[in-house]
Amino acid sequence: MSPVVQTFKLSKWYGNILGLSEVSLDVHPGITGLLGPNGAGKSTLMKLLTGQLKPSLGRVLVAGERIWNNPALFRRIGYCPEHDSFYEDTTGRQFLAGLLRLHGCCAAEAARLTESALKLVELWGDKNRLIRGYSRGMRQRLKIAQALAHDPEILILDEPLNGLDPLGKRKIIRLVKEFKAENKTVLVSSHVLPEVEALTRDIILMHQGKILAAGDIHDIRDLIDTHPHVVALRCSRPRKLAARLIEEPHVLKVHLGPDGLLTLETDNRDLLFGRLPALVLELDLDIEEITSPDDNLQAVFDYLVGK
Amino acid sequence: MSIREKGYHRWDGRLQERRRAWRPITRLGIRLAFKRKFFKFAFSLSFLPAFVFLAGIYLSERLQDFRGFIQKDAVPIQVLPKYFLSYLTADFLLFMTVILLIFCAAGLVADDLKHNALQLYFSRPLTKWDYLLGKAAVVIFFVLLLTFVPGLLLLVFKLIFSGSFAFVVDHPGLPLAIAVYSAMAAVFFASYSLLLSSLCRNRRTASFLIFGVYVFSDMLAGILQGIFRSPYAGLVSVKSNLKIAASPLFGVKPPLEVPWACSCLILSAVVAAAVWVMNRKIRGVTVIK
């Protein structure tokens, strides 16, 4: 599958401040999470991908074409900006319909698409209220609505879950997943790792303007050889299992907590999981729980950033 | 019972209530004004009339040195209280004061309204009057720098160039007149600019209003004077009101034949209107219906 979004050694300076440094990435159809702390360069990258900023160095291609000053591409792109800004003196319906008319839609089509988009984000009931009277969550949903109202193939969402309550977040996450099901491309940025984990396993990790890692969360985790994997076990006779496991060459560390939780560090998780069933049978144990506490984005990010 | 780690120490002191809470607001406003591009240029340009009038004072004391350059029938410069009034109410000085207001005053309230910063202010032990006083003090500072300071300095230089205190002895009310007029102008311009700044949420619009109202009032006064042929039409003009109100302080006939009390009343009405509007606009919480 050819990438939908490509960047080649993309760099961006704001005067003396480096926003992005030699970012080369490919975004394929599906949902890709763009992760990083505040100031990592996520919004800068998104603005470059949507042609709002010009690269200082490098190239950006969206659907195989350069994005800067290429308005025709925006028929296929929907963008949800980070900032909470609107034309405050308009209603939600007027705002959406107006933007759809800029797409070249006739009045009837704009009205139809507006209704569809507002219903999708559950703002139809407040369509005739002025935007200045909308709550934070409603404003965020309106931003998402304007991004997908014209049914784009590519969605670029900059912190779309900001300001939403947990129920609202779940609805938007479900909406974004439906996009994936239609074989569209979604690039979602966030600094809240669990939100992105709920959306996708394909991530791009950024820090200080650079890409730290890109790909599947688990693959990235496996590639971090410098950090052993952590596995936590709860069983009937943890001391016995601990004594047995410490003899295994791939087990680097064994810790028995006061609550009976057995925590292991291993440099080969697959080998450990391969040996575990045999050990359990040999020692006649009852395993209550097995988890990988560091097989998540937070741990991956912490390892890569070097915390 | 588990041992808990105490991460803080109880403070045994007394909380002192600082009743000059407006000062940080003023300091910040002044600092931000100086950071703006072109403000320093405009600010420097505003002192041009002071230098011109200073040169006039020098020339008036050293007239014999310049006899060769001056026509025989030329009227010599007379440095009297009217001279100081001319400086303080010079068209160019007032125009530059308005330009400076665009830089230092336009965003004082407008930016806070735009960014919902009022909640940040009033979630601290700050009263509404501290806030308003702090903002007004920014404008008062700059206006006094343009009026009171140069006005007094011109008087000092007059004494230095004349070599005696005779001038002050002859016109003992002049220092007070300079101070009173400067204070009046400062309070008026502070109220005027804060009123217009609080009417919009955009600094650019506020800049526009500050300049536009000043120019429009003058233009309208001229038109109404033409229609009605009455000096009272001049009371519409901001500039004229300042000149008329200043005249009795310096013992000079007003430029228009209008009681100076009318101008004072109009200037006071603007200040009162500003206080009323800002009292309504400056709130910690805004209810949007």
């Binding site: 925006f74 308009t90 070249g104 | 526009f208 233009m219 033409g226 229609i227």
Partner: protein, 259 residues
């Protein structure tokens, strides 16, 4: 062009709802009120003082438009074309539509020009009718109105295009605009010869007949007028140049939100 017209319709719709448009409509009615005042005074006066509607129209209403309202409208709307979007952080919505950047500028310019022209022409027509109603049967009177309206409209478009260009170029466009209108153009008017031609106001005033009498000193004109055709061509040319420049600058420049 179609993209620009879509943008124009969008922004016209937005602009007509805005409070500032209502404010400018109110400001545009000031000449109407003044005309009504004069008319009432004339009607109620025991001994008429000799002001004619023609005189007041030529000496007050037209100069009020030329030296104040037109400039204020052009300055405010012109600088708002781009700066409003940048300051309000709504530029992202426009730049991520299938509209060229030049179309955004042109469309918004057209929308604000429409609003400005409405404000000015409604006030001008109303003032004109109030002051010259006696001569309404004379076609010459309507020709005069059409000529004055055309001059003011062309002037508004020229100034608007200048300030639109200024707004795409610099952040402090209002400051520079005020310096230009009330500084440069006022000062240069008193310079003789070719120097006068370095101001847009020169060409505007060249198209307006000299007012009779000097009743209103602050509106005094010191002019060595250019031929009318030259003035029209220069104004049209300047409008086109500034608009093209605005489109070019906006297409090439990136705008950072004021973070």
């Amino acid at each position: 062009m179609r993209a620009a017209s879509r943008a124009a319709v969008f922004f016209f719709d937005l602009g007509r709802r805005a409070k500032r448009t209502k404010f400018f409509f109110a400001l545009g009615l000031v000449p109407v009120l003044l005309s009504l005042l004069l008319r009432l005074r004339h009607v109620l006066s025991v001994s008429p003082r000799g002001f004619s509607g023609d005189f007041f129209y030529s000496n007050v209403i037209l100069p009020f438009y030329v030296q104040f309202l037109l400039l204020m409208l052009a300055l405010f709307f012109g600088t708002s074309v781009i700066l409003e979007e940048v300051e309000g952080r709504t530029l992202a919505y426009l730049l991520t539509r299938p509209l060229s950047r030049a179309a955004v500028v042109l469309g918004k310019f057209a929308a604000y020009a429409g609003l400005g022209l409405m404000v000015m022409n409604i006030g001008l027509l109303a003032s004109f009718l109030i002051l010259k109603i006696e001569g309404a049967a004379d076609p010459e009177v309507w020709v005069t109105l059409a000529r004055d309206a055309a001059v003011l409209d062309l002037s508004l478009l020229c100034y608007l295009s200048l300030f639109t260009f200024l707004g795409t170029l610099v952040k402090r466009a209002v400051f520079f605009g005020l310096l230009f209108c009330f500084g440069w153009e006022n000062v240069i008017a008193y310079f003789p010869g070719l120097t006068q031609k370095l101001a847009i106001a020169h060409y505007v005033k060249s198209l307006i007949p000299q007012p009779p009498g000097q009743a209103f000193s602050f509106l005094r004109l010191m002019l060595e007028p250019s031929p009318p055709l030259v003035a029209v061509l220069i104004l049209l040319g300047l409008t086109a140049v500034f608009l093209a420049a605005a489109g070019l600058v906006f297409s090439a420049k990136e705008y950072l939100s004021p973070d």
